[in-house]
């Protein structure tokens, strides 16, 4: 059974991604002092070590689940209406859930098939060889002493120019010149910030890029998702007003281009939120809204339930699938474990952020389809495109308890079987034919 959507990465594809990545970095001028041939030696040494230290981490789960539904499983034992052995079905499901469940594993980082020389992904430490440890040590030095200061400087430049640029553009009167300049500023600053994270992004199907007056929905893995998308086009962001540095950026950005920021109190009022978003969408000259309907960060192996609010606004939905390559760095933000600062530090000391972005053809709500069904349809499309599994569970389960209605559903199903098999109240004459 295992976790569908994960795959064993072949050594060939690792080699190719490394070559692509490093040549990309050279091309973008991040490592101008290295000549290409010296770099090639570094690449091949790394590759040789990674391949020879192949940690056979099977990406399948620890248990093989039996997926026969309740009705079949219990019914095949049944002649009379209740058996002591009925509890075994529930027991088994319970034990399977305890050993490995589909939901809680999505709230922690994905396990890698082979080690990528970062300690943080080395779940089961095995000392392999001195050479590997030396290479790992060199990697640490490269990442912390060379890449980190470089990236930090770039990030600082990016954020400063974003604040300064948008404030300056915000002074201009509303006109097409202002819109054009604000686009230029946003794009440039995004590009600097993506370089700051050593991001290598592949955009697919650019012809489906979100248009003005539409709503862009995407799966959510980290706060970086927004930067990844604005690297290629301008969007109107939706979110809560924050304090601190984030608040400064928000206030500056909204002067240049109409983002939609809500106060914390306003967020609770769903009607108000929907109304404001609807107004924004109705104005065809405004930029497409960017929304993450999952509501929380998921670890990029699956897509969880989409909240229906975004799909009630109307308008055209432009789905976007984002898939990070975990081999180069883990982009997932585990907000219960790390705060934003340590998260950014981890991102900036990874090898790189490599991801694929697929723009998908626009979707609209069909006749007779309600918001929930529409949300599920969009979710399936995104999951299929990105190679992620689909889960009907709510991402909010990261923090909240599951609703009792699900348990009641299970109880109802079992009761139906109990009452159906023998008619209750009459003496059973079942034969024991095993």
């Amino acid at each position: 059974m295992g976790r569908p959507g994960s795959r064993l990465v072949s050594s060939g594809s690792i080699r190719w991604s490394w070559v692509k990545l490093l040549s990309g970095m050279v091309g973008k001028g991040l490592l101008p002092c290295f000549t290409f041939s010296r770099q090639q030696n570094v690449i091949y040494l790394l590759l040789e070590v990674i391949i020879s230290s192949w940690l056979l981490f099977h990406s399948q789960g620890i248990i093989e689940r039996d997926e026969t539904p309740m009705e079949k499983e219990i019914a095949r034992l049944h002649r009379v209406d209740f058996e002591f052995s009925d509890i075994f079905y529930f027991c088994r499901k319970g034990f399977e859930a305890i050993v490995e469940d589909e939901v809680t594993q999505r709230f922690s980082s994905e396990e890698l098939v082979s080690w990528n020389l970062l300690t943080r992904t080395n779940v089961n430490f095995h000392y392999i060889s001195l050479r590997l440890s030396v290479v790992w040590g060199i990697g640490v030095i490269v990442r912390y002493c060379f890449l980190l200061p470089l990236r930090f400087t770039l990030a600082a430049i990016g954020i400063t120019s974003m604040i300064v640029g948008t404030t300056m553009v915000g002074q201009l009167p509303n006109s097409s010149v202002k819109n054009y300049l604000s686009e230029v500023v946003h794009l440039t600053c995004s590009r600097i910030l993506v370089r700051a994270l050593s991001g290598t992004i592949h955009y697919h199907n650019k012809e489906n890029k979100p248009q003005k007056g539409g709503i862009c929905v995407a799966n959510h893995t980290s706060p970086i998702d927004a930067i990844i998308l604005t690297n290629d086009g301008c969007y109107a962001m939706v979110g809560q007003v924050h304090g601190g540095l984030m608040g400064v950026i928000q206030r500056a950005a909204v002067k240049a281009c109409p983002h939609v920021w809500f106060e914390r109190s306003e967020m609770k009022d769903r009607l108000l939120v929907t109304k404001r978003l609807r107004e924004h969408v109705a104005d065809k000259s405004k930029l497409p809204i960017l929304i993450f309907p999952e509501g929380t960060c998921i670890n990029n192996t699956s897509v969880m339930m989409f909240k229906k609010g975004s799909f009630e606004i109307g308008g055209t939905i432009y789905p976007v699938a984002i898939k990070y390559d975990p081999q180069f760095g883990d982009a997932f933000w585990n907000s219960s474990k790390y705060n934003i600062v340590s998260y950014l530090l981890r991102i900036m000391t990874s090898w790189a952020i490599v991801c694929n972005v697929w723009y998908m053809p626009p979707m609209v709500r069909k006749e007779g389809e309600d918001a929930v069904q529409f949300a599920n349809r969009v979710r399936s499309a995104i999951a299929r495109q990105g190679g992620l599994t689909e889960l009907p569970w709510d991402g909010g389960l990261k923090r909240a308890k599951v609703k009792d209605t699900f348990k009641e559903e299970q109880q109802k199903n079992y009761s139906k079987m109990l009452v159906r098999n023998g008619s209750v109240g009459s003496l059973s004459t079942g034969t024991e034919s095993d």
């Binding site: 002591f84 009925d86 509890i87 499901k93 490995e100 809680t104």
Partner: protein, 199 residues
């Protein structure tokens, strides 16, 4: 990682059969599962830690299953206890039957599995399943969908069929004789449904 070594060494030192039931890699995976459930990071799991698993929280028998992990009167379970309870559900392999006839019975033997199931019903541990205890389990499984009278008659009928010494309660021996239960367990060993791990 030192924690795993320490706990495994402790087990080896005390000749606990639990460690021998699982392979090295299974223990490692179970330990990383244990630590991911242990949000308080104090080396033990509480009932709330189990309740945080959504698929277990919606299981009608979830609370009973969770109780099975906790020894009498305690609120915390350590890794050894965790593994011990999970060991009950490991499929019986043929090569284990011939091993060590004089040693302690393996945790996942048929009779130990039956004992485990019996204990799920028998809350007060008096080695009998009374009508009330059976009703309690039935009520957990059906929720509010069946009336008290109907449930009562189901319980009465079940006890009537299995009861042989006429005391209106099921003892362990009578429990074992219930044909279907045996059949299911036999079926279970042929079809390894649990802890079929790779590597």
């Amino acid at each position: 990682m030192e924690k795993v070594n320490r706990s495994r060494d402790k087990q080896k030192g005390k000749k606990d059969t639990t460690a021998e039931v699982f392979s090295h890699s299974q223990i490692t995976r179970l330990y990383s599962r244990f630590t991911s459930l242990d949000k308080g990071e104090n080396g033990t799991l509480s009932r709330e830690d189990f309740q945080r698993i959504p698929e277990l929280a919606i299981n009608p028998l979830g609370d009973r299953i969770i109780n099975a992990f906790f020894p009498e009167g305690e609120d915390q379970v350590n890794f050894r206890g965790f593994m011990r309870t999970l060991a009950h559900f490991r499929p019986i392999e043929d090569n284990e039957k011939s091993k060590d006839q004089n040693g302690p019975e393996p945790l996942n033997s048929r009779s130990n599995k039956l004992h485990f199931a019996f204990r799920l019903y028998d809350l007060d541990k008096d080695d009998k399943i009374s009508r009330d205890e059976l009703l309690q389990v039935l009520r957990m499984m059906v929720g509010v969908n069946i009336s008290d009278e109907q449930l009562g008659s189901i319980a009465d009928r079940t006890i009537q069929e299995a009861d042989q010494d006429g005391d209106s309660a099921i003892s362990f021996a009578e429990f074992v004789k219930v044909g279907k239960l045996h059949f299911y367990l036999l079926n279970e060993t042929a079809h390894p449904c649990f802890l079929h791990t790779l590597t």
